[in-house]
């Protein structure tokens, strides 16, 4: 995407929004105009930033912990075949439980602070990261396996020098998925029970018919998510480049 295209798309989006406001003639507490939202954002900038910081922290911590946990699980599944046989079905089964349904329980267990939101984000990204990385680790070519076997490679060293580097592009794919899911997890956690965060702010604004503030919080959340995507995409690209020797 070129910068000019992005700018154009942005203006187009704002144009359609404004047009909708004019055509429908909706009152500002139903559909506020872009200008009104900008004013609300400026007026409440301190409170928005405070809450955005909390949400960003939840997302980043969740992403970090969830990825570490996913990577560790994938490595352990690859090293121990018994673990793979026993744990994979359990992992797949747990995916049948909608994580959102767990949100009230997590709030009960981990409280109203950021803890329950981080856990929520961890739970939601753990599986995609584990599964993508584990697939990558399992897809080591027969040629490399033969080479390792003929050289008398130990399982651990083979994992370290061949399988893990070879699976980095797959890990990148998992991380990109995680970057999509993590903010969803954090915000849902905030909706269920929180005293801070953009999700909390949106609920609060909605309850008081401050639709313009709600839109402002929503846009800030979207911007944060986009920034996260860009950063993770760059990281994934780096991992792929490394694995391809570029």
């Amino acid at each position: 995407m070129r910068r000019r295209d992005i700018l154009f798309a942005l203006l187009l989006g704002l144009g359609i929004w404004q047009a909708l406001v004019w055509i429908t003639g909706a009152p500002h507490f139903i559909l506020p105009s872009p200008w009104r939202v900008a004013q609300a954002a400026y007026k409440s900038r301190v409170i928005i930033l405070d809450n955005a910081w909390i949400t960003a922290l939840e997302v980043l911590l969740g992403l970090l912990l969830g990825s570490l946990l996913g990577v560790a699980t994938a490595v352990q599944l690859t090293l121990f075949k018994t673990a793979e046989r026993l744990m994979l079905p359990i992992l797949v089964f747990t995916q049948a439980v909608p994580v959102f349904a767990l949100a009230p329980l997590l709030t009960l267990w981990f409280g109203y602070g950021i803890g329950s939101k981080v856990v929520m984000a961890v739970l939601i990204i753990y599986f995609p990261v584990t599964s993508a990385f584990h697939d990558g680790l399992s897809q080591t070519s027969q040629g490399y396996r033969d080479l390792g076997a003929s050289m008398g490679a130990t399982r651990f060293q083979f994992l370290r020098y061949v399988q893990i580097p070879n699976a980095l592009p797959s890990l990148g794919t998992g991380l990109r998925l995680a970057a999509v899911y993590a903010p969803i997890g954090a915000v849902i956690g905030e909706w269920v029970g929180a005293s801070k965060g953009l999700g909390y702010l949106m609920l609060l604004a909605n309850g008081r018919a401050k639709t313009d503030l709600m839109f402002a919080a929503l846009i800030v959340l979207a911007c944060l998510t986009v920034l996260l995507h860009i950063a993770i995409r760059k990281l994934a690209l780096r991992l792929t480049k490394y694995a391809e020797g570029r």
């Binding site: 040629g143 490399y144 033969d146 080479l147 390792g148 076997a149 003929s150 050289m151 008398g152 490679a153 130990t154 651990f156 060293q157 083979f158 020098y161 061949v162 580097p165 070879n166 490394y242 694995a243 391809e244 020797g245 570029r246």
Partner: protein
């Protein structure tokens, strides 16, 4: 330097109840043997059996070394695909065997081997930036780094252009001198240049084909080499009819 053993293999290989081949062959100590035959006849399987790798079948028979020691840890191999790790530099690829065993790599020796295969000055490059010939040179240096008395080659030069291939044949003959080598190939010219012993594999068994007398690598234009190559090609063509 190293005592290369003679290797003797005899037996039958069965895949899911169907016999693939029944074979008997001997690899003379410290010499080059080339194994030719139609695709799918089991040439690579023989190589994998000697290497002790998974073959997807059962082998009923024996593989013995003349010194009665096991072959474990004494055989290295080189395939058509160079199997270089793209994320490692040329130098790190050469010492990968030590890394995989958890030993300390001998970088000095690796550097001298790089020089020997004509790659000095390329040690920090990544494999994707090298030509096919340079990658196979790196793979050859990696094989030499393992310093095993028995070396098995599975069509390692077949993907190279003719000139590069001839260069690589000469280099391999020189640096693998004194080792027991088995080269699986489709190329009669390669067999005529490089073999002390030529073996032709069929479903019925393995036959010895007369090889030229001159020392390897043989002159490509020598009459003896050319006539061996021609007769061998003729023989292989008759087999596929």
């Amino acid at each position: 330097m190293l005592d290369a053993p003679r290797i003797y293999l005899k037996g039958q290989h069965v895949i899911a109840g169907d016999p693939l081949f029944s074979a008997e062959l001997c690899l003379p100590a410290g010499r080059w043997t080339c194994l030719l035959g139609p695709s799918g006849i089991g040439k690579s399987t023989i190589l994998r059996l000697i290497l002790g790798l998974e073959t997807g079948g059962d082998f009923n028979g024996s593989i013995q070394a003349s010194d009665d020691a096991g072959l474990d840890g004494r055989v290295s191999f080189m395939a058509q695909s160079d199997l270089l790790l793209p994320w490692l530099s040329v130098l790190d690829n050469i010492v990968i065997g030590a890394q995989l065993r958890g030993d300390t790599p001998d970088y000095e020796r690796a550097k001298s081997l790089l020089e020997r295969v004509g790659l000095s000055g390329h040690q920090n490059k990544k494999p994707p930036t090298l030509s096919g010939g340079m990658r196979q040179r790196t793979a050859l240096a990696r094989t030499l780094m393992e310093d095993r008395p028995v070396v098995l080659l599975d069509e390692p030069f077949s993907a190279l252009d003719a000139g590069t291939r001839a260069d690589m044949q000469e280099l391999a003959a020189e640096v693998l001198h004194g080792r027991t080598v088995l080269l699986v190939t489709h190329e009669p010219a390669e067999a005529a240049r490089l073999s002390h012993q030529i073996l032709v594999m069929t479903a019925k068994g393995i036959d010895i084909w007369p090889s030229p007398k001159a020392e390897i690598p043989r002159d490509i234009t020598a009459e003896e080499t050319l006539s061996c190559q021609g007769a061998l090609l003729e023989h292989l063509r008759e087999m596929t009819l």
